[in-house]
């Protein structure tokens, strides 16, 4: 774990009860930062929904287990693993590669509703959505998701890798989040 990043997240979010954070990550530190953010939330909340659009859930699960993150407390919504039809498991739901924004919203909603009690949600990442969607649609999607997260009383973070292409999205989304953290 990169202690510096973990410490920065903890300090920045100290005054928030259920923060919704936009996390802008240095591309060189993406993997370590993701683990740090996950560590922060798993220490605070018993359950988590991890929306992965970047790497298959089984790859991530191994990475997290290796890093000492309690992966058993996570439910993965996987938008990258290609399966013939929607596949649901005990710890994951595969929506297929290049899933549309609407179906992604529905998939997330179902996952959140599966679990009672306090939980967090991590979206990994907004950057991936920009490959297949225009920035305006991605902003609308993120706006809706943050609004729903507040209604669900869910804490969490929308991750984005620091790239030129994200500038517009970040500036549009910042007002809807409690904090923008740069790692």
């Amino acid at each position: 774990m990169c202690a510096e990043a973990y410490q920065r997240i903890s300090e920045t979010l100290r005054d928030f009860d259920k923060p919704i954070v936009l996390t802008l990550i240095d591309p060189m530190r993406y993997q370590e930062a993701t683990v740090d953010i996950l560590n922060y939330f798993t220490k605070k909340l018993p359950r988590g929904i991890y929306v992965t659009l970047n790497k298959p859930f089984n790859v991530l699960m191994k990475t997290f287990e290796k890093a000492g993150v309690p992966a058993e407390s996570l439910f993965f919504v996987d938008g990258i693993t290609n399966v013939p039809a929607l596949e649901e498991g005990k710890d994951h739901a595969c929506l297929g590669s290049g899933v549309g924004l609407s179906n992604l919203c529905i998939g997330i909603s179902k996952a959140v509703n599966m679990f009672e009690g306090e939980k967090f949600l991590l979206l990994d990442s907004l950057s991936t959505l920009l490959i297949y969607n225009d920035p305006k649609s991605v902003s609308k999607f993120a706006h809706l998701l943050t609004e729903k997260m507040r209604r669900w009383n869910t804490s969490g973070s929308l991750l984005t890798v620091e790239m030129n292409a994200e500038k517009d999205v970040v500036s549009q989304l910042a007002p809807f989040c409690d904090k923008v953290v740069k790692i």
Partner: protein, 338 residues
Amino acid sequence: MQGMIQLAVLDPMLYGAARAFDYLGVRGQDMLDRIGEGIIEYGLSEGYFEKANDPHQFVGNVVKFFIQNGYMSNVTVSQSGDTLDIAMWNWRFLPLLRKLRNRNSYLLTCPVCIANNAITKSVGGVSERISENVTSDGTYSMKVKIVPGTTNTQSTVVFAHPADLTKNKIKSQLNESVGLAAFETVAYGLACGFEYLGAQAQLILDNIGTEMLEFMREESNLELPDDIEGSLETLSTFMASKGLADNISVKHSPNRVDVVFTNYHYLPVLKRSLTKGRSLVSCPFTLTARAAVRNKGLRVGDMKWQIGTNDARLAMTTLDTDHQQFDESAVSKIMGHA
């Protein structure tokens, strides 16, 4: 040498990579050095050069490979403690270096240099850049000092005393050729350098493609027509004429682009990438084609490959984002019932 490819194909890739990471400042060099790691990985696995336990010897092997592939005609290195004086003759990167400097871009994408950086970093060192010089006949020399570290800083990216590149007549070498093996190593480095980021690494490659188009417009006077079909046709003709393949034929239909590459020189890289389960593709044609498609307001969806012995077929779906606008209120209602 196995075969040749013109710098008109390779240089846009190197330019695109440098420009795509400019926004990160000196940290961008760390991203570029990852391409160097890929160059090393590919070169070793293809047997293009041998690994040596002594990093200086290892760098020497890599340099020899690039000399054999025409990327420079000769290199001399003299060492005094941790300081190295390096001189390169007919260094193919020189015109590109000048162009990048003219844009205030100090990130270095010379394949020899980033491969060297990767080797030096692997033993816990980085090269502090002290001074550089270019003679009137175009011989480039630099003085660097190896210092401890694994990440770049201002002093390892920007020369304390940079050369004045405006004083020398540095001619464009885009019609000159280098060995295909050198091209393959760079292409592989681009394909695997950012894969640790997962699918979102495609955005980096798309940014590189956009910068490549800029370079090709400025340096090769390649103007793309307004329509996608014409743009792809222009790109395919250009890339084939510069040595990427014997022929590249493109067929565009709504939501789909089909490409057939005949005697495709990116194929060894593609085969290795796909065998290793890597989905990122750094073929210069596909990078620029994706950028051209994006420039028309579309996005590229799935890319499916069919691989032959020397040929390849690509089916690329295109997505019209104008017709796929996200309806926030409609989706919100559905989510309420999910």
